[in-house]
Assembly symmetry: C2
Homo-oligomer: 200 residues x 2
């Protein structure tokens, strides 16, 4: 998605060789109009999969997921929680996700009643880095006996290998912008070779 | 907002005398269409204040804030963070918010560059209980030298006094549904007397 690449270059910031900061429109300040444009793009990319539900994880995934839900004709959104709140009293699916950059482990939780057997679930997230969060969300969907319609990320950091790990699990992965590498503080985009293979 | 009261009665759940759980459409599964309807209602309620920016707090406030932003013609949304992420490297405003039900204290943080002097900021949140989070968000807006256009909550638990505390600070408060009390597991709504006084 050309507009996203341009926005990342204009408003984003590379920190070291691993971190891309897009606090200006996605992770702290949100450009709701741009979320809607990204939502439309996800709806186009996953139209054939006809998802019935979107699963994401708090917090930054929520805006994107709601915009995409709208573009799919208002399908339900479920967001996994990183902490068990005191109102989460029922049974839930849980899966661990390590954060390599933060050095922490989160347990993602989804109440069982919100992902049902047979649901076609599209998983969306803001970032796809090592794929830890994505794989945890996939585990949750599969634990529920539901079907993974695909995985969509706004920003993929290809050099951290997450897309490859997810595709190895047989999952269709689409990212709106693929960062190939960060070189001397410069963000370098790549076309997604594996995605091209997928299209052939 | 009659539709919200009906949804709370149909899909919500009272836990004890203090907690109202609306995980089915707001705090875990999200009904994006309903978020948009609530967003429109906020835009109607605060039309005269002409807000230029919306401030909320992660995670459940994000969906509501983005929907409202759209109804205001796509004004920017900023969400306060409850933990300082490793990408938050710049100066930020911080304010403490106690959670009476959880017995914890969160520090809410907003990067200084995202709330500017003179901004007219509408604060939105999913719940208004004791008002701790709301007051913390107000402190942040005022620290920035910005103006508070108002405070809007989807669900107000009037018996916890938050609306009164905010109004005592001179803030216009509007809630889409006002819960007067929880009685024998039953949620009882009240019209907002102070809001009626405000309208006179």
């Amino acid at each position: 998605m050309k507009a996203l690449e341009e926005k990342i270059l204009k408003e984003g910031e590379a920190i070291g060789t691993e971190i891309v900061k897009v606090d200006g429109f996605l992770n702290h300040r949100i450009d709701a109009k741009f979320m809607d444009e990204m939502g439309e793009e996800f709806a186009r990319l996953f139209a054939d999969e006809k998802p019935e539900k979107i699963l994401t994880v708090e917090a930054s995934g929520i805006a994107i997921a709601c915009s995409a839900a709208r573009s799919f004709g208002y399908i339900p959104v479920v967001f996994a929680k990183k902490a068990a709140p005191n109102t989460m009293t029922e049974d839930f699916y849980a899966a661990e996700a390590k954060s390599f950059t933060k050095g922490t482990v989160s347990v993602l939780r989804v109440a069982k009643k919100y992902i049902e057997k047979g649901d076609k679930v599209l998983i969306l997230d803001d970032f796809l880095a090592s794929g830890e969060a994505g794989i945890a969300l996939c585990e949750i969907v599969r634990s529920a006996g539901a079907e993974i319609a695909g995985f969509g990320a706004a920003v993929e950091k290809r050099f951290q290998g997450g897309a490859e790990r997810l595709r190895a699990l047989g999952i269709k992965v689409k990212s709106l912008a693929v960062i190939d590498r960060i070189e001397d503080g410069r963000i370098v985009f790549g076309t997604d070779k594996m995605e091209e293979e997928y299209a052939e």
